[in-house]
C-alpha cells in the first residue's frame, strides 16, 4: 500500500478568468466578477486518470491521505475513489485558507506520505513547498493562474501518469525552483516574478546511450559532480576572474559539491575558488565589478519557463550585464533540466540588451564536464 498526500486549493485559478494575475488575497473580487473555481474539476480529472490507469494492477494500490471536503475528499469521491482507500487527515472549515493547505501538508507527511500531490498554482506550490520542507517530493496538478514553478505537470492527466511512473520506480527525485509573483510589487502595479525557494519533485531519469542497445542512467548527483569538476578547474584556471554564481537549485548544488556555501535565491561572488561576497545586490555587484573588471556570471534556467536572466535574479540588472559582457554569461543546466526546457528566455527589462542575446538565437549551455550543447533562445 503506497501512501500519497492529496491536497486541493479549491479557489486556485479563479483569478485568471477575470483578468487577475492570481487569486491570492482577491477571492472575493474574483467571485464578484463571476469566476468559477477551476481546481475541483482538475483535481477530479487527475483522480479519474489514476483510477483508469491503475485498474488491474494490484502493485499500485494507493492510500490517499487527504482533507475532508473540497480540499480533497470531494474531488476524490467525485472521481469514484473508494472512501475506504482514503484517510482523512483534517477537516478544515470553509472557506479554506493557505494556512489549511500548510496544515494538511504537514499532517500528511507526518502520516507517512511519500509524495504530496497538490492542485493549484504558484501560490499553492509555495505553501506546499514551505510546509513540505524537502521531507517529501511534491507534484503539482496545474490549476492556477500563474505556474512558473517547476513542480507542475503539464496537465492533470500528465500528473497522473507521472505519479504512476513514480510508483513503478521509473522516476527519480530531484529539486526544482518555486517561483511566485511578488504580491506587494504587484499591488504597486509591478509584475515581478521572484524565486522564492526550492522543493523536491519527480524528475525523469536522464539516460545516456552507453552502447547501441544499452542505456545507462546518469544520476543528478553524478551530473552535478561533473559540473562541479568543470567549475573547480575553471576557477583554478582563471584565478583573477570574479565569478558571480546566480540563483537556483542547480548552481547551489554545484556549489555545495565544491564546498561553497551558496545562497539559494541570491547571487554570490567567488574568486579563486573562494566565496568573497554573498547574496549581493545590484549596488554591491557594481562595486565588485569596479574592483574586478574581469568577471563572469554563471546562471541556470529557472522554473518551468526556463528564464535565464531577468526572473528570479533582478540583481543582475542590465547595467551589471553590460559591465560583465553578454559573452561572459555562462549558462548551465543538468541534461534532465535542459530536456524539460524547450527554449531559454531572457527578459532583463532592457530591450536592447535582450535583443543582443536573442540575436544570437542559440546559447551554449554547459551540461557536463567540458560538455555543452547549443540551445535556442526565445525570439
Amino acid at each position: 500500500m503506497r501512501r500519497l498526500g492529496f491536497i486541493v486549493n479549491p479557489i486556485a485559478g479563479m483569478g485568471g478568468r477575470v483578468g487577475l494575475k492570481g487569486t491570492d488575497g482577491v477571492v472575493d473580487e474574483a467571485r464578484a466578477a463571476g469566476a468559477d473555481p477551476v481546481a475541483p474539476t482538475r483535481a477530479r480529472a487527475f483522480a479519474e486518470t489514476i483510477l483508469a490507469l491503475s485498474r488491474g494492477d494490484p502493485s499500485l494500490s494507493i492510500r490517499w491521505l487527504t482533507a475532508a471536503g473540497p480540499m480533497g475528499m470531494e474531488p476524490l469521491g467525485a472521481a469514484g475513489v473508494d472512501e475506504e482507500r482514503c484517510e482523512i487527515i483534517n477537516r478544515p472549515p470553509e472557506p479554506t485558507t493557505a494556512e489549511d493547505t500548510r496544515r494538511a501538508v504537514e499532517a500528511c507527511i507526518d502520516r507517512g506520505a511519500e509524495l504530496v500531490l497538490f492542485c493549484g498554482g504558484d501560490g499553492t506550490a509555495r505553501d506546499v513547498a514551505e510546509s513540505a520542507r524537502d521531507r517529501a517530493p511534491i507534484l503539482g496538478i496545474p490549476a492556477g493562474v500563474k505556474m512558473y514553478s517547476a513542480v507542475f505537470a503539464v496537465s492533470p492527466q500528465a500528473a497522473a501518469e507521472l505519479t504512476l511512473a513514480y510508483l513503478r520506480g521509473r522516476l527519480r527525485i530531484g529539486s526544482a525552483e518555486i517561483l511566485d509573483l511578488d504580491e506587494d510589487a504587484y499591488r504597486r502595479g509591478e509584475w515581478r516574478i521572484a524565486l522564492v525557494g526550492t522543493a523536491k519533485t519527480l524528475v525523469e531519469p536522464t539516460l545516456v546511450q552507453a552502447g547501441k542497445l544499452q542505456v545507462a542512467e546518469v544520476t543528478e548527483e553524478s551530473t552535478r559532480e561533473e559540473l562541479a569538476d568543470h567549475f573547480r578547474e575553471l576557477f583554478a584556471a582563471e584565478p583573477d576572474t570574479l565569478f558571480f554564481l546566480g540563483p537556483g537549485s542547480t548552481i547551489a548544488s554545484i556549489a555545495t559539491v565544491l564546498g561553497l556555501e551558496k545562497t539559494l535565491l541570491g547571487i554570490d561572488a567567488v574568486l579563486g575558488g573562494r566565496t568573497v561576497a554573498k547574496d549581493v545586490d545590484e549596488r554591491s555587484l557594481l562595486r565588485l565589478l569596479d574592483q574586478h573588471p574581469k568577471a563572469k556570471l554563471v546562471v541556470s534556467p529557472i522554473g518551468a519557463q526556463g528564464f535565464l536572466l531577468g526572473r528570479g535574479n533582478p540583481e543582475a540588472s542590465p547595467d551589471v550585464l553590460r559591465r560583465i559582457g553578454t559573452r561572459n554569461v555562462i549558462a548551465v543546466a543538468t541534461p534532465a533540466k535542459l530536456a524539460m526546457t524547450p527554449v531559454l528566455r531572457v527578459d532583463t527589462g532592457d530591450a536592447a540588451l535582450d535583443e543582443e542575446f536573442r540575436r544570437r538565437e542559440y546559447l551554449f549551455v554547459l551540461i557536463g564536464y567540458r560538455t555543452s550543447k547549443l540551445h535556442p533562445i526565445q525570439r
Binding site: G169, R170, P205, L207, V208, Q209, A210, G211, K212, L213, Q214, V215, E217, Y362, F364, I367, G368, R370, T371, S372, K373, L374
Partner: protein, 396 residues
C-alpha cells in the same frame, strides 16, 4: 570500516535493473549466425544480427581461418608493439588500405577499442570535439577520455553543426567532428557530404564511424564516405569486421600520418594482445570476398528493398530508415515487447527497442535485413508480421 561489504552492491544494482526491466536476458545461439539460426532450441529467421552479408558463413572466410591456424597457430603471443605483430596483421592492413583506397590502415581489437583508443588521442585541452547527440557509446567513451571542450550537436543537424563550428572557431586550437556514418537505431545516414564540406571550411578534422555503413553503402560496399564521394575530405574512417564483414575486429583507415600516430598513441592498441591468426586471416578473406563477389551487397539491397516495400504495403510505419536497418514503429513499449515475443513464437527473431533506449512513444522492432535471406525467408517473416500486426491491431 570492518563491516564494509565488498560485493553486495552488485546484487543490489542488478536487482534494481531487473525491477526496471533494464537488465539483459541473454538468448543462446546454438550453431552459426545464419539466415535461419537455432536460438534457444528453436529455428528462427534471423532478423537481428549485424552479419549483413552473411560472410561469417562464407566458405572462403572459414577456410582462411582454418588455414591460418595450421600455419600460424591459435594465438599471437603478445601485443603488436612487442612480439605479436604477425605478417598476417600487416597483410590485412595493406588489404584494408587498398580496399578503402587509403594510404594506410591500422587493425584494432574492435571498433570499440578503435574509438576509445584513438578519439581520446585526437584532441586535448584547448581543442574542441563536435559530436552528434546520437553517436555510438564507444565514441562517447572516447570523447570522455579527453580534456577537449565537447560540443554535442543535434542529430544530423548541419545547421546546428555549423553554429557549433562557428563557436568553436573562436577559441579552439584543433577541431574534431565525429559522427556515426549510419545510426544503428533508426538506420538513418549522417549527412557526411555536408559534414565534410563544412568541416573543411573550418579546418576541422572529420572522423566517421562507419560500423554500419561498411559492406552496405558506397561503391562495392566501401562505406559512407564513398557513398557521398568525399573520401579525401574525411581524415579518419573507423570500421569494424564485426558486422557486414562477418568476423570481428576494428580498424581505422586514412593517411600514413594517421597510422603512425595512432599506433604510437592508442592505449587500447598498444596494451592489448593482438588478434589471433584465424581472425586476422578471416578478415583478409572477407575483404577478398567483398572485392571479388559484388553479388552479396547487391543481394542485401534487393532484399532490403523488397522487405521494406512489403512492410509499407502491409501498412507498417518503418520510420526514417535509409539502410537495411529497418525499424517497425509500434508506439508503446508493451506492444513492441508483445510483438517481438509473438514473432519469436512464429519463428522470427527480431528485437524490440523500447523505452528508455528510445523515447516512450517510439518503441519499435528493429529488423536487420541480411543478404543470405531467401525470398521464401522474407515472405515467411512478412507473413508473421502481417498475422501479428492484425492480431495486435497495429495494421488493419
Amino acid at each position: 570500516m570492518a563491516n564494509r561489504d565488498p560485493t553486495s552492491w552488485m546484487r543490489a544494482e542488478y536487482e534494481s535493473l531487473v525491477a526496471q526491466s533494464l537488465d539483459w536476458k541473454l538468448r543462446v545461439l546454438q550453431g552459426p549466425s545464419a539466415p535461419r539460426s537455432i536460438v534457444d532450441g528453436k529455428t528462427v529467421i534471423m532478423l537481428c544480427s549485424n552479419n549483413y552479408l552473411n560472410l561469417s558463413n562464407h566458405p572462403k572466410v572459414k577456410r582462411a581461418a582454418r588455414e591460418a591456424i595450421k600455419t600460424h597457430g591459435a594465438g599471437s603471443g603478445s601485443v603488436r608493439p612487442i612480439a605479436g605483430n604477425m605478417d598476417l596483421h600487416e597483410e590485412l592492413e595493406r588489404r584494408i588500405a587498398r580496399f578503402k583506397r587509403r594510404e594506410a590502415a591500422l587493425f584494432y581489437m574492435s571498433g570499440f577499442a578503435g574509438n576509445a583508443g584513438l578519439i581520446s588521442q585526437l584532441a586535448g585541452d584547448g581543442d574542441a570535439i563536435l559530436t552528434d547527440e546520437l553517436n555510438h557509446g564507444s565514441i562517447i567513451d572516447g570523447v570522455r577520455l579527453t580534456k577537449a571542450q565537447r560540443i554535442i550537436y543535434r542529430h544530423r543537424d548541419v545547421g546546428d553543426l555549423e553554429r557549433a563550428l562557428k563557436e568553436a572557431d573562436v577559441s579552439a586550437k584543433k577541431i574534431l567532428v565525429v559522427s556515426d556514418g549510419v545510426f544503428s537505431m533508426d538506420g538513418d545516414i549522417a549527412p557526411v557530404g555536408e559534414i565534410a564540406k563544412l568541416s573543411e571550411s573550418f579546418g576541422a578534422m572529420v572522423y566517421i564511424d562507419d560500423a554500419h555503413g561498411e559492406g552496405v553503402l558506397g561503391d562495392g560496399g566501401r562505406g559512407v564516405a564513398s557513398h557521398f564521394h568525399v573520401e579525401e575530405k574525411i581524415q579518419v574512417e573507423l570500421g569494424t569486421f564485426s558486422k557486414a564483414l562477418g568476423v570481428v575486429g576494428g580498424y581505422v583507415a586514412g593517411s600514413n600520418d594517421l597510422r603512425n600516430y595512432a599506433l604510437n598513441k592508442s592505449r587500447t592498441w598498444l596494451l592489448s594482445g593482438s588478434h589471433p591468426p584465424a581472425v586476422t586471416a578471416a578478415c583478409t578473406a572477407a575483404i577478398d570476398v567483398l572485392e571479388t563477389e559484388p553479388r552479396h551487397v547487391k543481394k542485401l539491397w534487393s532484399n532490403t528493398k523488397y522487405f521494406k516495400k512489403r512492410l509499407v504495403s502491409l501498412g507498417f510505419d518503418i520510420g526514417r530508415s535509409e539502410t537495411p536497418i529497418t525499424p517497425v514503429m509500434l508506439g508503446d513499449s508493451a506492444t513492441a515487447k508483445r510483438f517481438s515475443d509473438r514473432l519469436f513464437e512464429e519463428g522470427v527473431f527480431a528485437l524490440p527497442i523500447v523505452y528508455p533506449m528510445v523515447a516512450k512513444d517510439k518503441a519499435r522492432i528493429r529488423n536487420i535485413v541480411n543478404a543470405g535471406l531467401k525470398r521464401q525467408d522474407l515472405d515467411d517473416a512478412l507473413a508473421a508480421y502481417e498475422k501479428i500486426g492484425k492480431e495486435l491491431s497495429v495494421i488493419a
